[in-house]
């Protein structure tokens, strides 16, 4: 994934984003993907945080980013991980049916 807003899960909030929001999201993700367990993911999160941590950085990203979205970007933006919705009984029956 390349888009820092998508990496930090802030795409929806990007219009009203604040430094605090970016920091909170960063810390949440670092807790979820600590560097010792997920070094690559952590590096990605850290880089995204560096790109968005201040309004100046965010403006810089907006002005000069020329990166083309990759598949993970598209998936994250178009298929947001919404709140988990429990299946209905019919779906469970369909899954169990062979």
């Amino acid at each position: 994934m390349k888009n820092p807003y998508l990496i930090l899960g802030l795409w929806e909030q990007r219009k009203n984003i604040t430094d605090k929001l970016v920091q909170e999201s960063y810390l949440d993700l670092v807790r979820k993907y600590p560097p010792d367990r997920n070094p690559q993911r952590f590096q990605q999160i850290k880089e995204a945080y560096e790109q968005l941590k201040t309004s100046k950085n965010r403006l810089q990203y907006f002005l000069f980013s020329t990166t083309l979205a990759d598949r993970d970007d598209l998936i994250a933006a178009l298929l947001p991980d919404k709140e988990y919705k429990r299946p209905d009984l019919q779906l469970i029956k369909r899954v169990l049916k062979k």
Partner: protein, 897 residues
């Protein structure tokens, strides 16, 4: 269609004796070839008049063969085949059918009636203790799943006390409670499922699913593990798999989405809350490569514009930019407009500006024709247009500068600096970049890095007034910043404001008492002040400054050496020869070699102008018992120690002083013993001579290096880099080296050699007529003067007619064209401007060419121009650079490349 005749195959088994068959059946069983074993056993069992012992043995073998084959087929979920094999076994050797494999296969092929019949038989046997309980567990969980998923009628046909029937209602209520988020009831229902219940796996799955939904991160992790531990043989495995999928990241789901069956796909999409359109999109996304191209992105953007309109526009715009850079017609602005609507002016200019950045980045920097300046102008123009639109829009909306607009301006100017530095071999900031940095500080004065860069630039350029102004501006915003205070010390020292420098340094040390850089600078300030006292013979002040300097640097050899030398100068001037020689002995022991001691003596006598007090370098050498001319053929280590010493202290001295010191030491430096020099040694020595502008020394060492290591591209670079002008005869040598460096993939040397080629005159058109190395011809004279510098002497008139216009087209900028029209055609500036309004800049260029080639007078040209304008424009579109070089090469007999 005629049926293909089957080839006659001799059936060897029909003629076999019973003994052979028996042996073959035994062997086939032994090696696990159950089908073959059954083939042999079938005729054996049908044979008559066989002893009962022998037949009983064959029956046992037949049972084993059928059971094992059925198990193999069961494992690969070939339930129909299992049933067929079991039935055949039953007929042949009375194989029991009330086995878990057979019953499960019946369930899986929806033959519930038979399955239940055998299941009940098996249950009875189990109650009598004739079969193992585990045999029943598998069938029961299969029946439980079928009952939940398909047919609750199964339950009605089971005895009430059967575990499947007994737990069914509870299991259904459990699932219902879970689906309706009634977690309290779920907990109650879970408690009712015992360890031996056929619903045991369901219990585990639902417990894990609840934690996945509501639990902490640790709980979720544990739940994932629980779900992963459900065996693929379990009847509830598909449900476990479905919940596992819902716990995955979206990217993981997408990568395995296409391999899922429809039910699982629907389950996951429901759990993630994705609508039908998103499900379709997921199918398309799962088919994408990890790095899709611009056309694929544009297609996705088009299909998702209803779901995420803003994101769709954003990615489509970027796809448009990338497509344009790659000269692709797949995505055009018109196509974009059709799909996503019209861009507003600001948006459109932003896209244009981004295109210019990408084009700049895409240009091959090692190409002869790459002119960073020309490319940069395009980027600059696009971004300045963007800023102007942004500022206008902002004025209309807010009537003043909005902070984000102001910051955008600053960021764009800083971006120019960054972009320029990408194509610079020199890492220092250039003059043009400073202009941008200063402009950026007008919009955003809180950018410390820009302040530092501006001050450093002026300091390096020795523009002290500008440096002081920039420093004062920086101190206004960052009065206590250590980095800025350190630069303040340097600026003060450079301006001989030693007290001020000392005050700034002390301010730093108040905050950070062990700041090494501040201590060094403070020490240098005192040393510099001390040197100023020498010509005036103010020994008391000199002593005081040296004591101060000594206090701040106790571990730096070069500063210690300078202090000792200054003390020796003072003692010599005061005619205290003994003390002076003691100081100089101290100097010799402090530095590793005589050459180093000699260097410091030359530098200090030069810097203090000690000749004025009758103390020169020669005198100090005598007192130090150093040879005035150091011995030739010294060891390699001596030279490297000298370089190390010089690197540490040269910046502290004036360029003229350094030059004089090097001139004095040149004889010794020229004749260092290079017998054991490696290529790397040569490289570092040559780099040092290049940095210190020691052309003579560089020449000596580069020739030695080429003699020893051959004409490596790097050595060719050092051979010519310090030459003011690349001779035409050497052009092919450098070009050959460039070719070899390119082949070796040595991009650094490639860039360096291109910089050497840029120093050359024609036929390289890179720098244009205002390049300082371009042949110096007097524009007042005739254009034929070019012959002295250009290899045009031997060309006939026709060739010149081809070459000169091309040369003008390639080499001259618009300003230069105007200058040529003034000087060669003798047109007044006002007249040229008048013509420019009529025929434009291109027209002026053609006017000059027409004058040179056809002696067409400007007035006649103007008249002709209008009539042939259309034709001329067509001609302009043709590529010119390539044709020029191919023609040039043809004229000089070179090959097409």
């Amino acid at each position: 269609m005629a049926r293909k005749k089957r080839k006659y195959r001799k059936n060897t088994t029909t003629k076999m004796t019973l003994k052979d068959r028996e042996t073959n059946a035994k062997n086939a069983l032994h090696y696990g070839h159950y089908k073959k074993a059954i083939t042999h056993l079938k005729p054996l069992l049908e044979a008559k008049n066989i002893e009962s012992d022998r037949k009983a043995r064959w029956i046992e073998w037949a049972k084993t063969a059928h059971t094992s084959l059925a198990q193999q087929l069961f494992k690969s979920k070939k339930y129909q085949e299992v049933i067929r094999v079991c039935n055949s076994g039953h007929r042949l050797c009375e194989l029991a059918l009330d086995t878990p494999i057979y019953i499960t296969s019946l369930i899986n092929t929806n033959r519930f009636d038979e399955a239940l019949e055998y299941y009940l038989q098996l249950s009875e046997k189990s109650a009598e203790g004739k079969t193992a309980r585990s045999d029943l567990a598998l069938i029961r969980s299969e029946l439980a799943v079928r009952a939940i998923a398909n047919d609750s009628k199964i339950i009605e046909r089971l005895p009430e006390d059967d575990p499947v029937a007994a737990g069914f209602e509870n299991a259904c209520e459990l699932l219902d409670a879970y689906c309706h988020s009634n977690d309290e009831l779920v907990e109650d229902k879970l408690k009712l499922i015992s360890f031996r219940s056929p619903y045991r796996d369901l219990k585990q799955i639902i417990s894990a699913a609840i934690k996945l939904d509501k639990g902490s991160e640790a709980d979720k992790e544990k739940s994932r593990e629980t779900l992963a531990n459900i065996s693929p043989d379990s009847a509830f495995f598909s449900l476990a798999e479905a919940f596992q999928l819902t716990a995955m990241d979206v990217e993981e789901i997408a990568s395995s989405y296409l391999s899922l069956n429809n039910n699982l796909q629907a389950f996951v999409c429901h759990a993630k809350g994705w609508q039908e359109e998103q499900q379709k999109l997921l199918n398309a996304l799962a088919n994408l490569p990890p790095e899709p191209g611009f056309s694929e992105i544009f297609r996705i953007a088009d299909s998702c514009k209803k779901i995420q309109p803003e994101y769709a526009r954003e990615i489509a715009q970027m796809a448009l930019v990338h497509a344009r850079v790659k000269h692709s017609n797949v995505i055009t602005p018109k196509r974009y407009e059709q799909r996503f609507g019209k861009m507003d002016a600001l948006e459109s200019q932003h896209v244009e500006a981004l295109y210019e950045i990408l084009t700049y980045d895409e240009e091959p920097k090692d190409d002869y024709f790459f002119d960073p300046e020309e490319q940069f102008i395009d980027v600059e123009e696009a971004w300045e247009d963007y800023l102007s639109l942004l500022n206008d829009e902002n004025d209309e909306k807010y009537g003043g500068m909005n902070p984000s607009v102001s910051l955008s301006n600053a960021l764009v100017y800083r971006f120019f600096v960054k972009l320029r530095s990408r194509s610079d071999t020199d890492t220092r900031i250039r003059r043009t970049s400073i202009h941008y940095l200063e402009k950026s500080l007008e919009y955003d004065p809180l950018d410390k890095e820009s302040h530092l860069d501006v001050i450093r630039y002026y300091l390096n350029e020795k523009k002290l007034k500008d440096a002081r102004d920039s420093l004062n501006l920086a101190l206004k915003y960052y009065p206590d910043d250590l980095q800025i205070l350190l630069l303040a010390v340097e600026v003060a020292i450079a301006g001989n404001a030693f007290k001020k420098a000392s005050n700034y340094a002390k301010k730093i040390l108040e905050v950070d008492p062990i700041n090494r850089q501040a201590r060094n600078l403070l020490c240098k300030a005192h040393l510099a002040h001390a040197r100023k006292q020498v010509p005036g013979g103010k020994w008391h002040l000199l002593e005081k400054e040296l004591d101060e300097a000594e206090q701040w640097s106790k571990d730096q050899v070069n500063i210690q050496a300078a202090i000792v030398t200054l003390r020796a100068i003072m003692a010599t001037a005061q005619k205290q020869k003994k003390q002076a020689s003691e100081y100089l002995q101290q100097l010799s022991s402090l530095l590793k070699t005589d050459l180093n001691a000699s260097l410091i003596i030359h530098l200090e006598t030069g810097a203090t102008n000690s000749e004025a007090i009758n103390c020169n370098a020669k005198k100090l050498h005598q007192l130090a018992k150093l040879k005035w001319r150091p011995a030739k053929k010294q060891k390699k280590e001596v030279l490297f120690s000298f370089i190390e010493m010089s690197e540490a202290c040269l910046n502290d001295y004036d360029e003229k002083v350094v030059h004089e010191a090097f001139t004095a030491l040149k004889p010794a430096l020229k004749f260092i013993d290079t017998a054991d020099f490696s290529l790397q040694d040569y490289e570092s020595v040559l780099a040092f001579w290049h940095r210190t502008k020691q052309t003579d020394l560089s020449e000596v060492y580069v020739e030695k290096a080429i003699k020893e290591h051959g004409n490596l591209p790097l050595l060719i670079y050092y051979r010519y880099i310090d030459k003011p002008f690349l001779p035409f005869a050497s052009f092919s040598e450098v070009e050959d080296a460039l070719h070899r460096a390119k082949e070796a993939g040595d991009s650094r040397t490639v860039t360096r050699l291109i910089s050497v080629l840029e120093k050359s005159g024609p036929p390289m058109p890179l720098g244009g007529f205002n390049d300082k190395h371009f042949p110096d011809f007097d524009l007042d004279d005739d254009f034929n003067d070019l012959d002295d510098d250009l290899p045009l002497k031997d060309l006939d008139e026709d060739a010149l007619k081809i070459l000169l216009p091309e040369l003008i087209n390639l080499a001259a900028s618009d300003k230069e064209i105007i200058s040529l029209l003034q000087n060669v055609v003798r047109l007044p500036h006002a007249k040229i401007m008048e013509y420019k309004d009529i025929i434009g800049e291109k027209g002026l260029r053609e006017m000059l060419i027409a004058f040179i080639t056809k002696q067409t007078e400007p007035e006649d040209f103007i008249a002709e121009y209008e009539s042939t304008k259309e034709e001329t424009e067509k001609e302009d579109k043709k590529p010119k650079k390539k044709s020029f070089f191919s023609q040039l090469n043809l004229l000089f007999g070179g090959d097409d490349e």
